[in-house]
Protein backbone atom coordinates (compact mmCIF):
# COMPACT_ATOMS: atom_id res chain seq x y z
CA UNK A 1 0.00 0.00 0.00
CA UNK A 2 2.61 2.59 1.12
CA UNK A 3 6.33 2.03 0.53
CA UNK A 4 9.15 4.42 1.46
CA UNK A 5 12.49 3.44 -0.08
CA UNK A 6 15.51 5.45 1.14
CA UNK A 7 13.37 8.56 1.29
CA UNK A 8 14.98 11.81 2.42
CA UNK A 9 13.48 15.27 2.58
CA UNK A 10 15.84 18.22 2.76
CA UNK A 11 14.56 21.79 3.00
CA UNK A 12 16.87 24.32 1.46
CA UNK A 13 19.51 25.22 2.24
CA UNK A 14 20.38 22.22 4.40
CA UNK A 15 17.65 21.31 6.91
CA UNK A 16 17.27 17.54 6.90
CA UNK A 17 13.66 16.77 7.86
CA UNK A 18 13.73 13.06 6.94
CA UNK A 19 16.74 10.86 6.39
CA UNK A 20 16.81 7.50 4.58
CA UNK A 21 13.31 6.38 5.55
CA UNK A 22 12.56 2.78 4.64
CA UNK A 23 9.03 1.78 5.50
CA UNK A 24 6.24 -0.44 4.32
CA UNK A 25 2.65 0.05 5.49
CA UNK A 26 0.26 -2.67 4.44
CA UNK A 27 -3.35 -2.11 3.37
CA UNK A 28 -5.72 -2.02 6.36
CA UNK A 29 -3.02 -1.26 8.93
CA UNK A 30 -3.38 1.28 11.74
CA UNK A 31 0.03 2.90 12.18
CA UNK A 32 0.99 5.56 14.70
CA UNK A 33 3.94 7.81 13.84
CA UNK A 34 5.35 9.24 17.04
CA UNK A 35 8.22 11.45 18.01
CA UNK A 36 9.01 14.75 19.60
CA UNK A 37 8.34 18.09 17.89
CA UNK A 38 10.60 18.71 14.91
CA UNK A 39 11.46 15.07 14.29
CA UNK A 40 9.84 14.96 10.83
CA UNK A 41 6.42 13.44 11.65
CA UNK A 42 4.43 16.11 9.83
CA UNK A 43 6.87 16.11 6.91
CA UNK A 44 6.29 12.37 6.57
CA UNK A 45 2.52 12.99 6.59
CA UNK A 46 2.88 15.74 3.96
CA UNK A 47 4.76 13.32 1.71
CA UNK A 48 1.81 10.93 1.95
CA UNK A 49 -0.66 13.37 0.40
CA UNK A 50 1.92 14.91 -1.97
CA UNK A 51 2.03 18.27 -0.24
CA UNK A 52 5.78 17.74 -0.33
CA UNK A 53 7.95 15.58 -2.57
CA UNK A 54 10.92 13.49 -1.48
CA UNK A 55 14.29 15.08 -2.17
CA UNK A 56 15.79 11.59 -2.54
CA UNK A 57 14.45 8.06 -2.69
CA UNK A 58 11.18 6.58 -3.85
CA UNK A 59 7.72 6.79 -2.30
CA UNK A 60 4.96 4.64 -3.76
CA UNK A 61 1.37 4.88 -2.56
CA UNK A 62 -1.14 2.45 -4.03
CA UNK A 63 0.60 2.39 -7.40
CA UNK A 64 1.35 6.14 -7.49
CA UNK A 65 5.03 7.03 -7.44
CA UNK A 66 4.82 10.25 -5.39
CA UNK A 67 8.49 11.03 -6.02
CA UNK A 68 7.81 11.34 -9.75
CA UNK A 69 4.11 12.23 -9.81
CA UNK A 70 3.03 14.85 -12.35
CA UNK A 71 1.21 17.95 -11.08
CA UNK A 72 -1.96 17.01 -12.92
CA UNK A 73 -2.05 13.62 -11.17
CA UNK A 74 -1.84 15.00 -7.62
CA UNK A 75 -5.59 15.74 -7.35
CA UNK A 76 -6.32 12.15 -8.39
CA UNK A 77 -3.97 10.83 -5.69
CA UNK A 78 -5.57 13.09 -3.09
CA UNK A 79 -8.99 11.67 -3.84
CA UNK A 80 -7.60 8.32 -2.62
CA UNK A 81 -6.28 9.80 0.63
CA UNK A 82 -8.34 11.48 3.33
CA UNK A 83 -6.49 14.01 5.46
CA UNK A 84 -7.34 15.25 8.97
CA UNK A 85 -5.46 18.05 10.73
CA UNK A 86 -5.13 19.38 14.25
CA UNK A 87 -6.73 22.72 13.24
CA UNK A 88 -9.61 20.97 11.37
CA UNK A 89 -9.28 23.25 8.29
CA UNK A 90 -13.03 23.82 8.01
CA UNK A 91 -14.50 26.70 6.04
CA UNK A 92 -16.06 28.98 8.65
CA UNK A 93 -18.63 30.51 6.26
CA UNK A 94 -20.00 27.12 5.28
CA UNK A 95 -22.31 24.90 7.29
CA UNK A 96 -21.39 21.39 8.39
CA UNK A 97 -23.18 19.86 5.38
CA UNK A 98 -21.64 22.43 3.01
CA UNK A 99 -18.15 21.73 4.34
CA UNK A 100 -18.59 18.04 3.64
CA UNK A 101 -20.30 18.50 0.27
CA UNK A 102 -17.62 21.04 -0.83
CA UNK A 103 -15.20 18.13 -1.18
CA UNK A 104 -17.58 16.50 -3.63
CA UNK A 105 -18.51 19.72 -5.45
CA UNK A 106 -14.93 20.53 -6.39
CA UNK A 107 -14.40 17.14 -8.01
CA UNK A 108 -17.56 17.48 -10.11
CA UNK A 109 -19.85 15.05 -8.25
CA UNK A 110 -23.52 15.22 -9.26
CA UNK A 111 -25.99 17.00 -6.94
CA UNK A 112 -27.81 13.68 -6.51
CA UNK A 113 -24.67 11.92 -5.32
CA UNK A 114 -23.97 14.80 -2.92
CA UNK A 115 -27.53 14.59 -1.53
CA UNK A 116 -27.08 10.86 -0.93
CA UNK A 117 -23.56 10.83 0.48
CA UNK A 118 -23.47 13.81 2.83
CA UNK A 119 -26.23 12.71 5.26
CA UNK A 120 -24.74 9.21 5.22
CA UNK A 121 -21.30 10.50 6.23
CA UNK A 122 -22.77 12.79 8.88
CA UNK A 123 -24.56 9.76 10.36
CA UNK A 124 -21.27 7.82 10.49
CA UNK A 125 -19.59 10.62 12.47
CA UNK A 126 -22.71 11.10 14.59
CA UNK A 127 -23.52 14.65 13.43
CA UNK A 128 -26.75 14.05 11.55
CA UNK A 129 -28.63 16.61 13.64
CA UNK A 130 -26.07 19.36 13.09
CA UNK A 131 -25.89 19.58 9.31
CA UNK A 132 -27.05 23.20 9.23
CA UNK A 133 -24.70 24.50 11.91
CA UNK A 134 -21.58 26.53 11.30
CA UNK A 135 -18.19 25.35 12.62
CA UNK A 136 -18.10 28.11 15.26
CA UNK A 137 -21.33 26.65 16.69
CA UNK A 138 -19.68 23.25 17.28
CA UNK A 139 -17.28 21.92 19.93
CA UNK A 140 -13.71 21.03 18.96
CA UNK A 141 -14.55 17.34 18.88
CA UNK A 142 -17.55 17.95 16.65
CA UNK A 143 -15.49 20.09 14.30
CA UNK A 144 -12.92 17.32 14.03
CA UNK A 145 -15.72 14.85 13.23
CA UNK A 146 -16.84 17.16 10.40
CA UNK A 147 -13.24 17.11 9.12
CA UNK A 148 -13.24 13.31 9.31
CA UNK A 149 -16.57 13.13 7.45
CA UNK A 150 -15.05 15.34 4.75
CA UNK A 151 -11.93 13.14 4.63
CA UNK A 152 -14.10 10.06 4.17
CA UNK A 153 -16.32 11.50 1.45
CA UNK A 154 -14.25 10.06 -1.43
CA UNK A 155 -14.15 6.65 0.31
CA UNK A 156 -10.35 6.86 0.54
CA UNK A 157 -8.07 3.88 0.92
CA UNK A 158 -5.87 5.79 3.35
CA UNK A 159 -6.60 8.29 6.12
CA UNK A 160 -3.70 10.47 7.24
CA UNK A 161 -4.44 12.11 10.59
CA UNK A 162 -1.83 14.71 11.59
CA UNK A 163 -2.24 15.37 15.33
CA UNK A 164 -6.05 15.11 15.08
CA UNK A 165 -6.53 15.34 18.84
CA UNK A 166 -4.00 18.10 19.49
CA UNK A 167 -6.73 20.68 20.18
CA UNK A 168 -9.19 18.39 21.97
CA UNK A 169 -9.96 17.50 25.57
CA UNK A 170 -9.69 13.92 26.86
CA UNK A 171 -13.31 12.92 26.14
CA UNK A 172 -13.27 14.28 22.57
CA UNK A 173 -9.84 12.74 22.02
CA UNK A 174 -11.25 9.36 23.02
CA UNK A 175 -14.23 9.83 20.63
CA UNK A 176 -12.04 10.77 17.68
CA UNK A 177 -9.63 7.86 18.23
CA UNK A 178 -12.59 5.48 18.47
CA UNK A 179 -13.93 6.89 15.21
CA UNK A 180 -10.56 6.35 13.51
CA UNK A 181 -10.47 2.78 14.86
CA UNK A 182 -13.97 2.18 13.47
CA UNK A 183 -12.88 3.53 10.07
CA UNK A 184 -9.85 1.23 10.20
CA UNK A 185 -12.07 -1.76 11.02
CA UNK A 186 -13.92 -1.13 7.74
CA UNK A 187 -10.62 -1.67 5.91
CA UNK A 188 -9.19 1.84 5.55
CA UNK A 189 -5.49 2.22 6.27
CA UNK A 190 -4.97 4.81 9.01
CA UNK A 191 -1.72 6.70 9.52
CA UNK A 192 -1.93 8.61 12.80
CA UNK A 193 0.72 11.23 13.54
CA UNK A 194 0.72 12.05 17.24
CA UNK A 195 2.82 12.70 20.31
CA UNK A 196 0.02 11.70 22.72
CA UNK A 197 1.41 8.92 24.87
CA UNK A 198 -1.96 7.70 26.23
CA UNK A 199 -3.47 7.33 22.79
CA UNK A 200 -0.53 5.36 21.42
CA UNK A 201 -0.36 3.06 24.44
CA UNK A 202 -4.12 2.43 24.43
CA UNK A 203 -4.26 1.58 20.73
CA UNK A 204 -1.95 -1.45 20.87
CA UNK A 205 -1.20 -1.05 17.15
CA UNK A 206 1.97 -0.63 15.14
CA UNK A 207 4.12 2.31 16.34
CA UNK A 208 6.90 3.92 14.32
CA UNK A 209 9.14 6.27 16.28
CA UNK A 210 11.05 9.07 14.59
CA UNK A 211 13.98 10.95 15.99
CA UNK A 212 15.94 13.62 14.13
CA UNK A 213 14.30 12.58 10.87
CA UNK A 214 15.21 8.89 11.18
CA UNK A 215 13.18 5.84 12.17
CA UNK A 216 14.56 4.69 15.51
CA UNK A 217 11.92 2.08 16.24
CA UNK A 218 9.16 0.21 14.39
CA UNK A 219 7.09 -2.17 16.53
CA UNK A 220 3.92 -4.15 16.01
CA UNK A 221 1.63 -3.50 19.01
CA UNK A 222 4.17 -0.97 20.18
CA UNK A 223 4.20 1.58 22.94
CA UNK A 224 5.26 5.19 23.18
CA UNK A 225 8.93 5.22 24.10
CA UNK A 226 10.55 8.62 24.23
Amino acid sequence: MIRFKNVSKIYRPHTVALKNINLHIKAGEFVSIVGQSGTGKSTLAKLLFAEERPTKGELVIGGWDVSRIRRGQIPLLRRQIGVVFQDFKLLQKKTVAENVSFALEVVGASPRRIRELVPHLLRIVNLEGKAGRYPRQLSGGEQQRVAIARALIHRPKIIVADEPTGNLDAINTHDIINLLKKINEFGTTVVLVTHNREIVNSLRKRVITLDKGEIVSDQEEGRYRL
Partner: protein, 303 residues
Protein backbone atom coordinates in the same frame (compact mmCIF):
# COMPACT_ATOMS: atom_id res chain seq x y z
CA UNK B 1 -21.31 20.71 -17.26
CA UNK B 2 -21.82 20.51 -13.49
CA UNK B 3 -18.21 21.58 -12.93
CA UNK B 4 -18.63 24.49 -15.35
CA UNK B 5 -21.70 25.69 -13.47
CA UNK B 6 -19.83 25.43 -10.17
CA UNK B 7 -16.83 27.31 -11.58
CA UNK B 8 -19.25 30.02 -12.77
CA UNK B 9 -20.84 30.14 -9.32
CA UNK B 10 -17.44 30.51 -7.63
CA UNK B 11 -16.49 33.27 -10.12
CA UNK B 12 -19.69 35.22 -9.40
CA UNK B 13 -19.19 34.69 -5.65
CA UNK B 14 -15.65 36.11 -5.89
CA UNK B 15 -17.01 39.08 -7.83
CA UNK B 16 -19.73 39.90 -5.29
CA UNK B 17 -17.89 39.02 -2.09
CA UNK B 18 -15.11 41.48 -3.03
CA UNK B 19 -17.52 43.98 -4.47
CA UNK B 20 -15.41 47.10 -3.78
CA UNK B 21 -12.35 45.59 -5.40
CA UNK B 22 -14.54 44.66 -8.34
CA UNK B 23 -15.92 48.22 -8.52
CA UNK B 24 -12.39 49.70 -8.61
CA UNK B 25 -11.21 47.25 -11.26
CA UNK B 26 -14.28 47.73 -13.43
CA UNK B 27 -13.99 51.54 -13.05
CA UNK B 28 -10.41 51.53 -14.30
CA UNK B 29 -11.27 49.27 -17.22
CA UNK B 30 -14.30 51.44 -18.04
CA UNK B 31 -12.17 54.62 -17.99
CA UNK B 32 -9.71 52.94 -20.35
CA UNK B 33 -12.50 51.97 -22.73
CA UNK B 34 -14.04 55.45 -22.56
CA UNK B 35 -10.67 56.94 -23.52
CA UNK B 36 -10.40 54.54 -26.45
CA UNK B 37 -13.96 55.41 -27.54
CA UNK B 38 -13.23 59.12 -27.17
CA UNK B 39 -10.32 58.66 -29.56
CA UNK B 40 -12.56 56.74 -31.92
CA UNK B 41 -15.17 59.52 -31.76
CA UNK B 42 -12.44 62.05 -32.45
CA UNK B 43 -11.41 60.05 -35.49
CA UNK B 44 -15.00 59.96 -36.80
CA UNK B 45 -15.52 63.68 -36.14
CA UNK B 46 -12.16 64.63 -37.67
CA UNK B 47 -13.11 62.80 -40.84
CA UNK B 48 -16.44 64.66 -40.83
CA UNK B 49 -14.71 67.99 -40.17
CA UNK B 50 -12.21 67.44 -42.98
CA UNK B 51 -15.06 66.55 -45.32
CA UNK B 52 -16.90 69.69 -44.20
CA UNK B 53 -13.86 71.86 -44.91
CA UNK B 54 -13.25 70.10 -48.21
CA UNK B 55 -16.82 70.86 -49.22
CA UNK B 56 -16.19 74.52 -48.55
CA UNK B 57 -12.83 74.54 -50.29
CA UNK B 58 -12.77 76.27 -53.62
CA UNK B 59 -10.23 78.08 -55.73
CA UNK B 60 -11.00 81.57 -56.92
CA UNK B 61 -9.54 82.65 -60.28
CA UNK B 62 -9.45 86.41 -60.66
CA UNK B 63 -9.36 87.56 -64.29
CA UNK B 64 -7.79 90.83 -65.34
CA UNK B 65 -10.07 93.79 -65.55
CA UNK B 66 -11.55 94.10 -69.00
CA UNK B 67 -11.25 90.40 -69.90
CA UNK B 68 -13.90 89.43 -72.43
CA UNK B 69 -16.82 87.40 -71.14
CA UNK B 70 -16.35 84.89 -74.00
CA UNK B 71 -12.85 84.08 -72.75
CA UNK B 72 -14.12 83.64 -69.19
CA UNK B 73 -16.93 81.38 -70.38
CA UNK B 74 -14.44 79.40 -72.45
CA UNK B 75 -12.21 78.95 -69.41
CA UNK B 76 -15.22 77.89 -67.33
CA UNK B 77 -16.21 75.34 -69.97
CA UNK B 78 -12.65 74.05 -70.20
CA UNK B 79 -12.41 73.60 -66.41
CA UNK B 80 -15.83 71.99 -66.20
CA UNK B 81 -14.60 69.38 -68.64
CA UNK B 82 -12.02 68.15 -66.10
CA UNK B 83 -13.01 65.03 -64.15
CA UNK B 84 -11.61 66.48 -60.92
CA UNK B 85 -13.95 69.48 -61.01
CA UNK B 86 -17.31 69.35 -59.27
CA UNK B 87 -18.64 72.81 -60.02
CA UNK B 88 -17.62 76.08 -61.63
CA UNK B 89 -19.37 79.36 -60.93
CA UNK B 90 -18.85 82.59 -62.87
CA UNK B 91 -18.98 85.79 -60.85
CA UNK B 92 -19.41 88.93 -62.93
CA UNK B 93 -17.57 92.17 -62.01
CA UNK B 94 -20.88 93.62 -60.83
CA UNK B 95 -21.59 90.66 -58.57
CA UNK B 96 -18.02 90.79 -57.25
CA UNK B 97 -18.43 94.50 -56.43
CA UNK B 98 -21.75 93.81 -54.71
CA UNK B 99 -20.24 91.00 -52.62
CA UNK B 100 -17.26 93.18 -51.70
CA UNK B 101 -19.53 95.97 -50.54
CA UNK B 102 -21.68 93.58 -48.52
CA UNK B 103 -18.62 92.01 -46.90
CA UNK B 104 -17.16 95.40 -45.89
CA UNK B 105 -20.42 97.17 -45.14
CA UNK B 106 -19.12 98.14 -41.69
CA UNK B 107 -15.75 99.38 -42.88
CA UNK B 108 -16.13 102.97 -43.96
CA UNK B 109 -12.48 103.38 -44.89
CA UNK B 110 -12.60 100.63 -47.47
CA UNK B 111 -15.91 101.81 -48.84
CA UNK B 112 -14.63 105.38 -49.17
CA UNK B 113 -11.50 104.09 -50.94
CA UNK B 114 -13.78 102.26 -53.35
CA UNK B 115 -15.68 105.50 -53.96
CA UNK B 116 -12.41 107.26 -54.71
CA UNK B 117 -11.47 104.72 -57.35
CA UNK B 118 -14.74 105.64 -59.03
CA UNK B 119 -15.10 102.67 -61.35
CA UNK B 120 -15.57 98.94 -60.69
CA UNK B 121 -12.06 97.60 -59.99
CA UNK B 122 -13.15 93.94 -60.21
CA UNK B 123 -12.89 91.68 -63.20
CA UNK B 124 -14.54 88.32 -63.79
CA UNK B 125 -13.97 85.62 -61.19
CA UNK B 126 -14.34 81.87 -61.51
CA UNK B 127 -15.06 79.90 -58.34
CA UNK B 128 -13.99 76.31 -58.88
CA UNK B 129 -14.92 73.46 -56.52
CA UNK B 130 -12.94 70.22 -56.76
CA UNK B 131 -14.19 66.72 -55.99
CA UNK B 132 -11.24 66.31 -53.62
CA UNK B 133 -8.95 68.86 -51.97
CA UNK B 134 -5.97 66.95 -53.30
CA UNK B 135 -7.10 67.66 -56.88
CA UNK B 136 -6.54 71.39 -56.66
CA UNK B 137 -2.91 71.03 -57.61
CA UNK B 138 -3.91 69.36 -60.87
CA UNK B 139 -6.63 71.94 -61.56
CA UNK B 140 -4.26 74.85 -60.99
CA UNK B 141 -1.75 73.25 -63.34
CA UNK B 142 -4.47 72.78 -65.95
CA UNK B 143 -5.20 76.51 -65.74
CA UNK B 144 -1.70 77.22 -66.94
CA UNK B 145 -3.21 76.74 -70.39
CA UNK B 146 -1.63 79.29 -72.82
CA UNK B 147 -5.07 80.50 -73.92
CA UNK B 148 -6.08 81.60 -70.39
CA UNK B 149 -2.82 81.98 -68.49
CA UNK B 150 -2.27 85.64 -69.29
CA UNK B 151 -5.86 86.63 -68.58
CA UNK B 152 -5.77 85.30 -65.00
CA UNK B 153 -4.53 87.86 -62.51
CA UNK B 154 -4.52 85.76 -59.36
CA UNK B 155 -5.32 82.28 -58.08
CA UNK B 156 -6.50 82.07 -54.48
CA UNK B 157 -6.40 78.63 -52.84
CA UNK B 158 -3.70 78.28 -50.21
CA UNK B 159 -5.69 79.26 -47.06
CA UNK B 160 -7.89 76.16 -47.10
CA UNK B 161 -4.94 73.87 -47.56
CA UNK B 162 -3.47 75.33 -44.39
CA UNK B 163 -6.77 74.77 -42.55
CA UNK B 164 -6.83 71.08 -43.56
CA UNK B 165 -3.16 70.65 -42.66
CA UNK B 166 -3.69 72.27 -39.28
CA UNK B 167 -6.77 70.18 -38.62
CA UNK B 168 -4.85 67.00 -39.41
CA UNK B 169 -1.90 68.15 -37.33
CA UNK B 170 -4.06 69.08 -34.31
CA UNK B 171 -6.09 65.86 -34.35
CA UNK B 172 -2.88 63.87 -34.86
CA UNK B 173 -1.45 65.38 -31.67
CA UNK B 174 -4.69 64.77 -29.75
CA UNK B 175 -4.63 61.15 -30.93
CA UNK B 176 -1.06 60.63 -29.71
CA UNK B 177 -1.88 62.15 -26.30
CA UNK B 178 -5.12 60.14 -26.12
CA UNK B 179 -3.34 56.90 -26.95
CA UNK B 180 -0.75 57.63 -24.25
CA UNK B 181 -3.53 58.30 -21.70
CA UNK B 182 -5.32 55.08 -22.74
CA UNK B 183 -2.06 53.12 -22.41
CA UNK B 184 -1.43 54.52 -18.91
CA UNK B 185 -5.00 53.77 -17.83
CA UNK B 186 -4.71 50.25 -19.21
CA UNK B 187 -1.43 49.71 -17.38
CA UNK B 188 -3.02 50.90 -14.11
CA UNK B 189 -6.01 48.62 -14.76
CA UNK B 190 -3.73 45.63 -15.32
CA UNK B 191 -1.76 46.36 -12.14
CA UNK B 192 -5.04 46.62 -10.24
CA UNK B 193 -6.18 43.27 -11.67
CA UNK B 194 -2.92 41.60 -10.63
CA UNK B 195 -3.42 42.94 -7.10
CA UNK B 196 -7.13 42.09 -7.03
CA UNK B 197 -6.32 38.48 -7.95
CA UNK B 198 -3.52 38.48 -5.38
CA UNK B 199 -5.89 39.74 -2.67
CA UNK B 200 -8.62 37.33 -3.76
CA UNK B 201 -6.15 34.46 -3.51
CA UNK B 202 -5.16 35.68 -0.04
CA UNK B 203 -8.79 36.05 1.08
CA UNK B 204 -9.65 32.59 -0.26
CA UNK B 205 -6.46 30.87 0.82
CA UNK B 206 -8.36 28.56 3.24
CA UNK B 207 -10.89 27.63 0.59
CA UNK B 208 -8.14 27.04 -1.98
CA UNK B 209 -6.23 24.95 0.59
CA UNK B 210 -9.28 22.78 1.24
CA UNK B 211 -9.96 22.49 -2.50
CA UNK B 212 -6.43 21.19 -3.01
CA UNK B 213 -6.67 18.91 -0.01
CA UNK B 214 -9.81 17.16 -1.22
CA UNK B 215 -8.49 16.66 -4.74
CA UNK B 216 -9.86 19.55 -6.82
CA UNK B 217 -8.15 19.72 -10.19
CA UNK B 218 -5.86 22.66 -11.00
CA UNK B 219 -8.26 23.85 -13.68
CA UNK B 220 -11.13 23.87 -11.21
CA UNK B 221 -9.12 25.99 -8.76
CA UNK B 222 -7.88 28.43 -11.41
CA UNK B 223 -10.88 28.70 -13.74
CA UNK B 224 -13.01 30.98 -11.49
CA UNK B 225 -10.28 33.62 -11.54
CA UNK B 226 -10.17 33.62 -15.34
CA UNK B 227 -13.95 33.82 -15.52
CA UNK B 228 -13.85 36.68 -13.04
CA UNK B 229 -11.44 38.51 -15.39
CA UNK B 230 -13.89 38.03 -18.26
CA UNK B 231 -16.70 39.22 -15.99
CA UNK B 232 -14.73 42.42 -15.24
CA UNK B 233 -14.18 42.98 -18.96
CA UNK B 234 -17.83 42.32 -19.86
CA UNK B 235 -19.11 44.68 -17.15
CA UNK B 236 -16.65 47.43 -18.15
CA UNK B 237 -17.55 47.04 -21.85
CA UNK B 238 -21.28 47.15 -21.01
CA UNK B 239 -20.91 50.33 -18.93
CA UNK B 240 -18.65 51.98 -21.54
CA UNK B 241 -21.09 51.07 -24.36
CA UNK B 242 -24.05 52.49 -22.40
CA UNK B 243 -22.11 55.70 -21.68
CA UNK B 244 -20.99 56.05 -25.30
CA UNK B 245 -24.47 55.45 -26.71
CA UNK B 246 -26.07 57.80 -24.16
CA UNK B 247 -23.57 60.62 -24.69
CA UNK B 248 -23.51 60.34 -28.47
CA UNK B 249 -27.31 60.38 -28.57
CA UNK B 250 -27.46 63.55 -26.47
CA UNK B 251 -24.72 65.22 -28.53
CA UNK B 252 -26.06 64.11 -31.93
CA UNK B 253 -28.27 67.19 -32.67
CA UNK B 254 -25.52 69.61 -31.60
CA UNK B 255 -22.87 67.87 -33.67
CA UNK B 256 -25.18 67.79 -36.65
CA UNK B 257 -25.87 71.50 -36.28
CA UNK B 258 -22.16 72.23 -36.00
CA UNK B 259 -21.10 70.16 -39.00
CA UNK B 260 -24.06 71.19 -41.15
CA UNK B 261 -24.75 69.02 -44.17
CA UNK B 262 -21.88 66.67 -43.44
CA UNK B 263 -22.84 63.41 -41.70
CA UNK B 264 -21.38 63.63 -38.17
CA UNK B 265 -23.81 61.38 -36.28
CA UNK B 266 -21.68 59.57 -33.70
CA UNK B 267 -24.68 57.68 -32.35
CA UNK B 268 -25.41 56.30 -35.82
CA UNK B 269 -21.75 55.36 -36.21
CA UNK B 270 -21.69 53.34 -32.96
CA UNK B 271 -25.15 51.88 -33.63
CA UNK B 272 -24.09 50.60 -37.04
CA UNK B 273 -20.72 49.26 -35.84
CA UNK B 274 -21.48 47.66 -32.43
CA UNK B 275 -19.55 44.47 -33.08
CA UNK B 276 -16.36 45.91 -34.61
CA UNK B 277 -16.23 48.56 -31.87
CA UNK B 278 -17.50 47.04 -28.61
CA UNK B 279 -16.99 43.39 -29.61
CA UNK B 280 -13.37 44.08 -30.43
CA UNK B 281 -12.89 46.18 -27.29
CA UNK B 282 -14.35 43.36 -25.17
CA UNK B 283 -12.11 40.77 -26.84
CA UNK B 284 -8.98 42.90 -26.40
CA UNK B 285 -9.84 43.78 -22.80
CA UNK B 286 -10.59 40.14 -21.93
CA UNK B 287 -7.27 39.07 -23.42
CA UNK B 288 -5.41 41.64 -21.31
CA UNK B 289 -7.28 40.89 -18.07
CA UNK B 290 -6.78 37.14 -18.59
CA UNK B 291 -3.08 37.81 -19.14
CA UNK B 292 -2.92 39.82 -15.89
CA UNK B 293 -4.78 37.08 -14.03
CA UNK B 294 -2.48 34.39 -15.40
CA UNK B 295 0.53 36.42 -14.27
CA UNK B 296 -0.93 36.92 -10.76
CA UNK B 297 -1.78 33.22 -10.41
CA UNK B 298 1.62 32.14 -11.68
CA UNK B 299 3.18 34.34 -9.01
CA UNK B 300 0.84 33.86 -6.06
CA UNK B 301 -1.26 30.71 -6.49
CA UNK B 302 0.56 27.47 -5.94
CA UNK B 303 -1.64 24.52 -6.83
Amino acid sequence: MISLLRVLRFAFQNFWRNVWLSVITVSMLTLTLLTVNLLLSLHVLTDAAIKAVENKVDVSLYFNEGTQVELVQGAAGYIRGLDQVRDVQIVTPEEALERFRARHAEDRLILSSLEEVGENPFGYTLIVQARDAADFGFILEALDHPQYRDAIREKDFSNYGIIIDRLNEATGKVRVVGLAVAAVLLLIAMLIIVNVVRMTIFIHRDEIGVMKLVGAGNTFVRAPYFLEAILYSATATGIAAAAVFGTSRVLAPRLQAYFGIVQADLFAYFATHPLPVFGLEFAALSALTILSTAFAMHKYLKV
